[in-house]
Amino acid sequence: MDLSYGEAAEAFRAEVRAFLSSHWPPPSDLRGADLKAFVRAFRGLATERGYLYRAIQKRYGGSEQPVDVIRAQVIREEFSRVRAPMEVGGNGMNMTVPTLLEKGTDEQKELFIRKTLEGDYIWGQGYSEPGAGSDLASVRTKGELSADGSKWIINGQKIWTSQGMQATHMFMLVRTEPDAPKHDGITYLLIDLDQPGVTRRPIRQMTGEEGDHTFCEFFFDNAETPVSWQVGTRGQGWYVSRTTLKHERASIGGADGLGRQFAKLVELAKEVGRIDDPLVRDRLVQIEGFVLAHRYSSYRIFSCAAAGEDPGTVPLMMKLLLTEIGHEMALLAQELIGEHGFIEPAGAGGRGHRGPRGPEKWLDQIMGSLGNSIAGGASNIQRNIIGERGLGLPRDLAMSGER
């Protein structure tokens, strides 16, 4: 075993560093639109050099590089070291673009990919509906063809759309053949959200958060989208969306984030004067065992990916492992913050309260850890996936109709 990346990678790292040192950071007096323009130009340069949008063809604005997870990792490390902006994030890059690359028409690719990766188009996810949850195939939002067959007319409601307040577009599942079997009557559509038939409403979460970056509900009242914005065959939208979900799952992880959070938990124990308590020490190291199991497993997955080998079942477990570790950390944090937890942390609650954040800031993590079980598939769905895909156990009877 060897955790170093090898000489070739280190040479590449030097090249990336040299690039960064001449192009980042922006002049310190840059503000507003000027700063935005600088960032845009920086991304353009970085893409030209092959550092960003590596999986995307040049004609759509990518850098079209061969798959090289080591180089990709070096890029991530170096950009993150100097806090340089990397690819535009969100659903657009994680879900729309991969779906279009695999299933989109040439026109759709031309129309959407470049705009998405330059940050002009921001995509909301239109899968969940009230009363649907993990059972995505039970979509009830209706799509009907206009009389002339040129447009889809959409009526219904979507929920849990992340970045909903910023989103310019949405990819969505709508039921277009009400009489077809559950999975076969769904069509995958792209839609412009800036139209009279679309209303959005932010969802206030249990943390009180309800700002620009919260989830939204969307209401569709005779909203329209051209038939040419339909991805894949009519009625086959469920299968189109399955591709996308895989991308989403692969993008959740973050061993570094977990490690940083654990380090903060240790700091919290020091801050509240409990670090010498044997109970706290024991719980901390217990949790650290899981944190490191997660971290080293991510090395393992990464290493297999770099070598083009099958990493086995462990990638199926990373999401649930992260969720469960988050719960354990939250429980210890609750023990540690004690009366500090009586105060709402600054920045939460949507009442404009701002200020310095003490140990009470852990309330965000404590409640946030509950959100993890919900985002990206509830924990019981993850358990099914591990049991069925990972261990080869037979499917649930109730889901035997699902694929």
Binding site: M206, L279, E339, G341, L370, R383
Partner: protein, 325 residues
Amino acid sequence: MHFHLTEEQTAIQDAVRGTLADCWPIERIHAFADGEADFDRESWDALMALGLGGILAPDSGMGLLDAALACEVAGEAAAAGPLIGQMLAVAAGGGGHLDALANGDKVAALVHGGSTYVPCARAADVFLIVDRDAGIRLVPAGDGVAIETVKAADRTRPVSKVAIAEDAGERLFGPDDAMTARLADAALVLVAADALGGARKVTDMSVAYAREREQFGQPIGRFQGLKHQLAHMALDVEPARALVWYAAYAWDAGLPDAPRAAALAKAHLCDVYVRATRAAVAAHGGIGYTWEYGLHYWFRRAMFDRAWLGSPAEHRARAADLAGW
């Protein structure tokens, strides 16, 4: 032998439950939580009209068990108001305000010795300071009491930062007076009761949701995964009820293990409450995470109950000491 509720006790609980259901439908909880007040006069008067303020008065003919049954329902309803402080101030004799406290005209907030956070402090007419090491004081609001409003995490019983001058008010009992320890123990039992009510409430909400909500063409409560999680919530909560009953009974009967039973009940029920509220959010999925659905009010109360008057670990350590281990 009688170790379950009498018909009368059940009837009282039902009456309190009914009153609180009227006072605190979810819309009113939302409105209160988003407002600035730490007290709600209307619901308070309704509870006081039921006589809850005077349950622990020396001549009430009732006891800590009855008080705990009321606090349990308040926990269930996520009710605002310093019910525990009020009851204990009356139990402490009221320091000259006994009638006004028993009938609710004056409001008493409970101050845990050594803590600067006090729930419903801005509404309080008097402060009851309970401190095992320093005894019990009753301090009128006003001179010698400085109150700083903060943004409280528990939206139904908002705390303020309170500083009370050392010589303010009247000392009711010294640190060695048996009443000091007894009132401190009673406070633990009442918080345990609040936790029981809240834990039971979120379990019931989760079960109801699992019976209604359908996925994959089935009520989700049919799936063993969730069914077993709900069974574990119930297994965690329902047997723990008897710990609260026993601790209250032991206090009322003056049994020698009453202090230990109080410590154990506080530690155990507050852990149960935190587990139950976390499990409830998970059982609900997305909707449980919304502000609007309201589960978070109990989650926040669970956080508060757990840390208030000392953490579970602290009371477990006390319980171990009290056992003579």
